[in-house]
Symmetry: C2
Subunit: 400 residues, 2 copies
């Protein structure tokens, strides 16, 4: 009798964004004439940069000729040209990462979810509350014990470590999804010191690093001393270069990073992850890797930075609106997310329905990211300028 993995019964019934999609669908069916403005799911709206499109087409052309055709990638970890480009990008952030420590992925979500495979079920997993649902769900699926670090209004929705708490695997995300908060170097150093003291490993999600404009804020955990002993960084081009539908990311595992057998014997994490990927992944499409490499050329950097500027101007329009309306929020600076306190003491889903029904603006209920998100709400700056302005105007009209 084929037995299902019963850990799946411990998951919440549905994935947050599926719930939202259902509500939207129902609203649309009931109100076919109303135009919705989507500021919920963190999807981008700007097209791929011209340099990126050209590189992908060139890659596709190469695949069409015997002399330049590429089959399986030998390692499945990404072509050297792309790993070198990412390594160079890290240099601009002040982190020294060898190309051989970089593994090209089909996006941060896959590696974020699949990384649980290499850790034993005896680990205590520390996740900030609120957090990106993938951290929780992937660990629930693999039956691991989860505890939470509180991100709340008091600490600016940037949880800090508690030395009295024992944990083995720690998920951090900065700039944070959903709260938009960004760790300072000092705060991140506290996490690194804590992890080292616990012999724990930090899974650091830096998918939103490109939105950091303040030069004093760390864009990679590997700019923090000690991080090579305790951290894996998972990043993505989804938000950096509009790759949400193109699918490419990268994961950094320092060669010296170790985890442990229950008898205390140290095991090299990079090798174990490669072994996992060697059996369950076969590398990223060659033309997509060509497209990704183009992001890191001077031309690609200029073009994708312009897109991020565009989104950050949206964010400024949104934070100005919140300021004007006296709405409390975090994020919006160095982050594409605005995390706001629902006005009039509304609950998250109540505010979701309110915005959907009254002004046809779709956001994301904070409690979908964890209990501490109750009464909070996430808006994203990834929309078009017109929609962002229109949504903020509607919001002002509604709440003034």
């Amino acid at each position: 009798m084929a037995l299902i993995n019963e850990n799946f019964s411990n998951l919440k019934e549905n994935y947050l964004f599926i719930d939202i999609a259902k509500k939207i669908k129902a609203y649309r069916q009931a109100n076919p004439d109303k135009e919705l403005i989507r500021m919920g799911i963190g999807d981008v709206t700007r097209p791929l940069a011209p340099a990126v499109v050209e590189a992908m087409k060139k890659g596709a052309d190469e695949m069409g000729h015997r002399e330049t055709f590429r089959g399986y990638e030998d390692s499945g970890r990404g072509y050297g040209f792309l790993r070198n480009a990412v390594s160079g990008y890290y240099k601009t952030m002040g982190a020294d990462i060898d190309p051989d420590e970089i593994l090209i992925s089909d996006g941060a979500k896959s590696d974020c979810g699949n990384i649980v495979d290499i850790f034993g079920s005896g680990n205590t997993v520390l996740i900030t509350d609120p957090a990106y649902p993938v951290y929780v769900d992937s660990n629930v699926m693999s039956g691991k014990e989860i505890i939470y670090a509180s991100s709340n209004e008091g600490n600016g929705f940037a949880a800090i470590p508690d030395e009295n708490v024992k944990s083995d695997i720690i998920y951090l995300c900065s700039p944070n999804n959903p709260t938009g908060s960004v760790y300072t170097k000092e705060q991140l150093k506290k996490w690194v010191d804590y992890a080292i003291s616990q012999k724990a490993i930090i899974i650091f999600d830096s998918a939103y690093e490109a939105f950091i404009r303040d030069k004093d804020l760390p864009r990679s955990i590997f700019t923090i001393e000690g991080a090579r002993k305790c951290a894996i960084e998972i990043s993505s081009l989804s938000k950096t270069a509009g790759f949400t539908g193109t699918r490419c990311g990268y994961t950094v595992i320092p060669k010296e990073l170790e985890a442990y057998k229950s008898n205390g014997e140290a095991v090299n994490v990079f090798k174990i992850w490669c072994r996992r990927q060697g059996s369950k992944f076969n590398g990223v499409s060659y033309p997509v890797q060509c497209a990704a490499a183009a992001v890191f050329t001077p031309e690609g950097q200029a073009q994708t930075h312009a897109d991020i500027d565009y989104y950050m101007e949206n964010a400024a329009i949104m934070t100005e609106t919140c300021d004007e309306l006296g709405i409390k929020y975090t994020g919006g600076k160095n982050s594409p997310y605005i995390w706001l306190k629902c006005p009039n003491n509304m609950e998250s889903w109540e505010f979701f329905d309110y915005l959907l029904n009254e002004i046809q603006v779709v956001g994301t209920p904070g409690e979908g990211f964890g209990p501490n998100g109750k009464g909070w709400f996430r808006l994203t700056a990834f929309g078009t300028r017109e929609n962002t302005i229109e949504a903020m105007n509607r919001l002002k009209k509604l709440l003034k």
Copy 2:
């Protein structure tokens, strides 16, 4: 203390193809002047079909314009245009598969490896010996009990079910990698009947279905009565259309397929897999999906069939050589693999070294696929015509 998943200690030290790559590298360093002919790893050599390249470039262009840009796919299961195309393709094989039962993947290896996530650790997993190493390794990693069904010279390397053996999850591959054997409808019906009697689920790997030219042989398990009650089919465009470096495949899970909780309660498998993918996968690159859809157009079918014809002519050259040399083999008909008995009672790795050192031909040692592969050897028909002819000439000279 971050604990590693200790099941990884139970894996064989290295992945077969990594061992081979190391041996090749060492040989090349010692003999830089010698030209190797690679007939080992099952990689293709023909470029992507023109229709496929054009579709990918068109998709890339669409990504470069705001009006046609695509971000996250709503479902992550693949665009309707591609699922419809795959459904139509199944019709030509005589299988009625709803587009909603098709999930687009980044290749068969990912889904084959990741499918273990949805099954509990209490399952007994039945794998044929020899088999594609991913089946074994992914189950070892997740700590499942594995038993083997013997594929051997006596049964033409096509294992048949034993009603006295209890199993819960069954891996089958036809046309088989590595043995090239192809199940008849009658043989596959026996497996379906066996699986239903056990309430087991068959993971059916049909990655090589496009090589079946005999109209009486089943190209999908879903051409067999009862299979919808007991089977998942995982397939790929890697060999069908040279997508080894382009990365796209598809998995079929009938909507009515059930697995069980330990208390006997039935659970819908499609839903659980979607839940898994919803947290650990984010869909396939849009331009790659465009490329994949082009495979199923009349033009794409004509072009990719011509490539398969080319490989099958290689296979014919290889089987003729084996016949001439009196070497026993399976496969080579309706399959790109020739599975041959090492001459002169040589062991697999011995024959590997012999071919590498004497005639610079690289094959795959049969025992890399399991104990029953001892003394057997895999060659693939995916090389160029020139290399195939040259390798066979060298082999004739060596063994005559």
